[in-house]
């Protein structure tokens, strides 16, 4: 665990401060303003009902983690730092998990800032009926759903990043899974729903009516985590020194 934290610490340092500096900070502030202030104030009712923030806390980590996971592996190859890192005593799995942990923690932390900013914005603009607080389902989605979502894109991104020779190539290749997850998620579920027989739709609605929003969120998160664990295991198997050096 110490090794994972050592790698993660350095990665976070590069993501947040070390490298990108003001440019990096601007990116985070932009995200917080866009998703934490602009959207909530544009559609305050949808945000107050809890549906919109729930969707956003699953979606935002995809945008935040995607580019960094592309950079973290392909970037090390491009900047020729990977071989020196692999020539240390660090086990393969610690390097891999440390990088994933850093990217996901960053995406998760910025998502929490966005959730808090959106709640503050909604209260500042319309706080007449008392202090507004998101329901537990939104908090569950924010606290664990966003991490599961970041893990999902990181797991997928690892394979792309490891196969890409340059950061630019990795970023371009990352667009496809991002589109699939974001648009495929919304359009795909709608299309799947319409393809179901009416009887099945009715029985699903009946089943869902007995499930609370919190239980629903926890169910989705559990499913996501299962996929994440599968992807991480695959990633650990793929991330082998000998394979990386031999190309």
């Amino acid at each position: 665990m110490t090794d994972i934290l050592t790698v993660a610490r350095k990665e976070l340092r590069e993501i947040v401060g070390g490298g990108s500096g003001r440019k990096g900070l601007f990116r985070e502030l932009f995200f917080v303003f866009l998703f934490g202030v602009f959207f909530p104030l544009s559609q305050s009712e949808a945000w107050r009902s809890g549906a919109m923030p729930t969707v956003f806390v699953f979606m935002i980590p995809l945008f935040l983690a995607g580019p960094y996971v592309a950079d973290t592996f392909a970037g090390e190859k491009e900047r020729k730092t990977l071989e020196t890192l692999l020539a240390t005593r660090l086990p393969d799995s610690s390097v891999y998990l440390g990088k994933i942990f850093a990217v996901c923690t960053y995406a998760w932390a910025v998502t929490q800032l966005i959730v808090l900013a959106s709640m503050v914005a909604l209260n500042v603009v319309d706080g007449a009926d008392g202090w507004f607080v998101y329901p537990p389902a939104v908090w569950a989605a924010a606290l664990i759903g966003s991490y599961a979502s970041a893990l999902l894109i990181s797991g997928i991104g690892t394979f792309i990043s490891l196969r890409s020779e340059t950061v630019r190539a990795a970023h371009q290749a990352m667009m496809l899974p991002l589109f699939v997850l974001i648009f495929g998620g919304s359009f795909g579920i709608g299309a799947l729903w319409r393809a179901l027989p009416v009887e099945t739709q009715l029985s699903l609605i009946e089943w869902a009516s007995g499930v609370s929003p919190l239980e629903g969120i926890l169910g989705i998160v559990a499913l996501l985590l299962l996929v994440d664990v599968f992807l991480l295991r695959l990633g650990i198997r793929r991330f082998r020194r000998s394979k990386l050096i031999a190309g």
């Binding site: 350095k10 730092t81 005593r89 000998s242 050096i245």
Partner: protein, 327 residues
């Protein structure tokens, strides 16, 4: 292959690595004594970097075996990397981090305690002349400064074995000289083994206890720099007057002589000529001088024109080239 004796830091036996049909390293058998500086020489693409990767367990051998510090490269590579410091082809520094942050990261990886890490970083950065730039981003460093920082990183955890790929490239002359002294001191005083690849043959001659020449993955020659010289012909330069082509033909017929050539062109004084004579191993120049004097030539000086390691290296590589072409 039996377990390496403690006095052997690296032992390879038939070590080979192929990439498809390309044999990067072939049947490499070497012993690197512990506490020695071992020069690994070869032209670009000779297999030097692949050999280092194999010895660090970063690549799996296609055939053969190797033990480094008593550990098998196939099954105990982590133990090898734990005790090895490396400077590879690329300096491997994080340009977005500062010099301090780079070393701190690798110190943590090596599990140095916080106090030891701080002290060690300060000592090394000071020794490398980089302490004042400790908080500067590596992206703003010159090539020489980056090389020094990468060397500091390689020394950081007091490794028993150093793999250094062209360590003096990018360094100015005083820094290169200081580094060579430091390497010799590390080997002599602390028993650190240094596996060094270099194109600077003068450097290899100066610091290496043993030298290996590799080309297209094949080991062409191996031994101490002295053995390299001793096992080959000795060149003698004879300066004087009255040297003729006919005399040179007679010199070539002498038993101890492998070759002789009359060098034309001015030698400072009018009428002064020079004969270059290749003597067989252990050969004596006296019969050559006697022949010249008896033939009426005037010999003013006899100097040993010892071949440099560079000459020997070039000959070896050319010989290897010819053999390869014949094969």
């Amino acid at each position: 292959m039996s377990a390496s004796a403690p006095d052997i830091a690296i032992r390879t036996n038939g070590l080979s690595r192929a990439f498809g049909s390309v044999r990067a390293v072939e049947d490499l058998t070497i012993d690197v004594p512990a506490g020695s500086i071992y020069g690994f020489l070869g032209p670009n693409g000779a297999g030097k970097t692949t050999t280092i990767r194999l010895l660090l367990g970063l690549l799996e051998p296609s055939a053969g075996e190797a033990r480094v510090l008593g550990h098998d490269v196939r099954t105990q590579s982590q133990a090898i990397r734990e005790q090895a410091g490396v400077l590879l082809e690329s300096d491997g520094l994080y340009t977005r981090l500062t010099a301090m942050q780079n070393l701190d990261y690798f110190g943590r990886i090596s599990r140095l305690s916080a106090a030891d890490r701080r002290q060690r970083i300060q000592d090394l950065l000071t020794a490398m002349g980089l302490w004042d730039r400790r908080d500067g981003r590596v992206a703003d460093f010159s090539t020489g400064m980056r090389q020094k920082l990468a060397l500091a990183r390689a020394f950081l955890h007091r490794p028993k074995l150093l793999f250094l790929d062209e360590p003096t490239s990018g360094l100015d002359t005083p820094s290169a000289v200081a580094l060579r002294r430091q390497l010799v001191a590390l080997a002599r005083d602390e028993g650190v083994t240094v596996f060094l690849t270099t194109h600077n043959l003068l450097e290899a001659e100066k610091v290496c206890d043993r030298v290996a020449v590799i080309r297209r993955g094949l080991l062409l020659a191996e031994g101490s720099p002295k053995e390299f010289h001793g096992g080959r012909s000795r060149c003698v330069s004879i300066l004087g007057r009255g040297f003729t082509d006919a005399l040179v033909v007679r010199i070539r017929d002498l038993a101890a002589v492998e070759g002789a050539a009359l060098e034309s062109g001015p030698h400072g004084v009018e009428g002064v000529g020079r004969v270059l004579v290749d003597l067989a191993s252990g050969g004596d120049p006296a019969p050559v001088v006697r022949l010249l004097v008896e033939a009426g030539a005037d010999v003013t000086s006899v100097e040993s024109a010892r071949e440099s390691l560079e000459d020997i290296f070039l000959k070896l590589v050319e010989e290897g080239e010819e053999e390869g072409m014949i094969a």
